[in-house]
Symmetry: C2
Subunit: 392 residues, 2 copies
């Protein structure tokens, strides 16, 4: 018999709660507000078809060949030009989705037992990416405006147990939909610099604002103090798995070596495809149509919540962009217990508990307003109300 | 000042020697026999263009959306059907190139300080993928027929220092081009089973045989005793980054969790593209054309070696397939010292020392016969002879 011995980190790795929920919700007829899947209406399929023909016709051999681990130069240049602070293309590393950026950063910055600070609650995928490197993940208290800097200062620590970095998602956060205010950003960047604490800034949703762009990124305020991650998943399409990371010069080579060991490079074809689609200001024309659609769907959800859930004592936030709304059930109710009843009523969501690094708030839950249509959203919220009433 | 602290593994990670050499060889006019880049002549560009139009036209929304971490079901089915032993599609995990399979296996099977056994010499990318998990990598002695099983038995160890697995590339190995014989395979699988040692079998080149297929895979002989890795990079195109791993049922879920944390899933579009191209037995028609081309180029290189290098006392092997030839310089010569002289003569190769986990043979070097044309190969080998004569 073969004696397989698993690494100790394997015991800490777990299937994604969201993934398990998504499986349950695959029954026909269910309206899922659970997943963070962009609306397929927003995918510029025709533009991709033209770009694919173009790329394979004009540069097929290069698009199908091995390529540089750093990424395709014109795409790195386009990313650098797109970012709202001075970024040199040499600082841009193209990743296989921004999830990979989290994996690379974890490899380069986390030792077993290293302390890592995150928001309360935070992006589940980041917790999953960090976990294999076996950190101690600690939650920093947050309010509606973002991280509480005094709690951050209290938790940084010193010497060998000093936190390696703070992971933060300032725009239309996953899962809460909240946006860090200008004042809080400035306060956070200054305090982190004083504390010498690196900031890992994740910005997959920043372009998806409804009425006005969010305040400028944290990294733009102190480029040497942080690593910035972005994605093409929400502005073009997630199925191509294209993201990027921007890192200070002395960190970049290590991320690059980790990238090379992880998958050699991000698919050459996909990088050229997106560079081709992005030509001539495509995003400037395309992204506003996504903003409009998501704003409309968010408003439909807010109206349905007002109609069906306000009378039941449920509360929620009003996001200024992004994909998610954060709900809180009345005292004594549990989102985890609500889920099977909701599924029986043909609607699914993600219980908030999944998003906490430590103890969570059992009354919270996350709703996505981007995948379902307005009509489905109205149906789903009414169904959710019925499920809540049943449990009351 | 921000106080960045790197993980201890970061200090162990290094830029690829090959990559650094490739940079040197980017000077115009150089003929590189260094890289392992498939001949772009073999890329079925027109088939990909048709498949891209088909996939985006018929299933564009699904091809551009997030998808399952396991991979696209029809592609998993095609892989399972293609393999020469009974594999259930549920055992197949699609990876972002087979390099990623190495990263996932390392995460799941290697703890800091774990002993890992490899061939002498071995694939450099595997060493790079294992290193971030901080194993102690040990080389098992090999001869022209493959791993020496007695040396393997001597090095397995026991208790806490027992080796986690043996990594082996039985077909047209990178870097040596050698193929493990039928007898040695059977001996190795039986001995490994007795020892309880898992085998990690890497087979990117197996389809590239010249006259007859190599003996059946190790994993086919004891599927519960190993993990098998394959790739579409050498039979279709590397720029799509598509590989796969086949694992026993109790290991699979952990590889899947590692995959999900690493990049969520392999690009949906690329998976559907390759599944589309593979329809109707495409590989059965296409792969023989690659075999013929590489056989011709290998023969051209062997003839040129006979003409120019045999008189200088250089020796080499005669591969039965794959992409690489392994040379040994006369006593007293160093491949590393030869390289700059060769580059001055407009030819590049990889010194063999790069491929050894421990102390290497300084006289060895790797030549690729697939990227350059026959005429370039003849020119390059004559140039290499000139460089060798200069140093004698």
């Amino acid at each position: 018999m073969t004696a397989w011995t698993l690494a100790q980190r394997a015991a800490k790795m777990n299937p994604s709660v969201i993934r398990e929920i998504l499986k349950v919700t695959e029954k026909p007829g269910i309206i899922s507000l659970a997943g963070g899947l962009p609306s397929p209406q927003t995918f510029p399929i025709e533009s991709f078809a033209q770009a694919a023909a173009q790329v394979l016709g004009n540069e097929g051999a290069a698009a199908l060949q091995y390529s540089a681990s750093e990424g395709y130069t014109p795409l790195r240049e386009a990313v650098a030009a797109f970012l709202p602070w001075e970024v040199h293309p040499d600082q841009v590393l193209i990743t296989t989705g921004s999830q990979q950026a989290l994996d690379l950063v974890a490899k380069v910055l986390i030792d077993e037992g290293s302390r890592v600070l995150v928001e309360t609650p935070t992006y589940l995928g980041a917790l999953q990416a960090f976990t294999p490197m076996e950190p101690r993940i600690e939650a920093v208290a947050s309010d509606d405006e973002g991280i509480l800097v005094d709690d951050l200062a209290a938790k940084v620590g010193s010497g060998g147990t000093r936190a390696r970095f703070l992971y933060v998602l300032p725009n239309f956060q996953n899962p809460t939909g909240r946006t860090m205010t200008e004042a809080r950003r400035q306060q956070l960047v200054e305090r982190a610099a004083e504390l010498g604490l690196p900031i890992l800034e994740d910005n997959p949703y920043g372009e998806l604002w409804f009425d006005q762009p969010p305040p400028k990124p944290l990294t733009a305020r102190n480029p040497e103090g942080g690593i910035y991650m972005g994605s093409f998943s929400k502005v073009l399409a997630p199925g191509l798995r294209l993201g990027f990371v921007v890192a200070p010069q002395h960190i970049y080579p290590k991320l690059l070596q980790a990238k090379q060991a992880a998958d050699l490079h991000t698919p050459s074809f996909n990088q050229r495809l997106v560079a081709e689609v992005m030509k001539n200001g495509f995003l400037e024309r395309h992204v506003p149509t996504i903003r409009q659609l998501y704003k409309r769907q968010c408003e439909a959800m807010l109206a349905a919540l007002e109609e069906h859930l306000a009378p039941l004592g449920v509360t929620w936030n009003r996001p200024a962009g992004g994909m998610f709304l954060w709900l809180r059930l009345p005292e004594g109710m549990s989102a985890l217990e609500l889920l099977p009843r909701a599924v029986a009523h043909d609607v699914a969501f993600v219980p908030g508990a999944a998003f906490y690094a430590q103890e969570g708030d059992a009354r919270t839950l996350r709703l996505s307003f981007v995948t379902a249509t307005e009509e489905q959203i109205r149906t789903a919220i009414a169904a959710l109300a019925a499920a809540i009433r049943e449990g009351a």
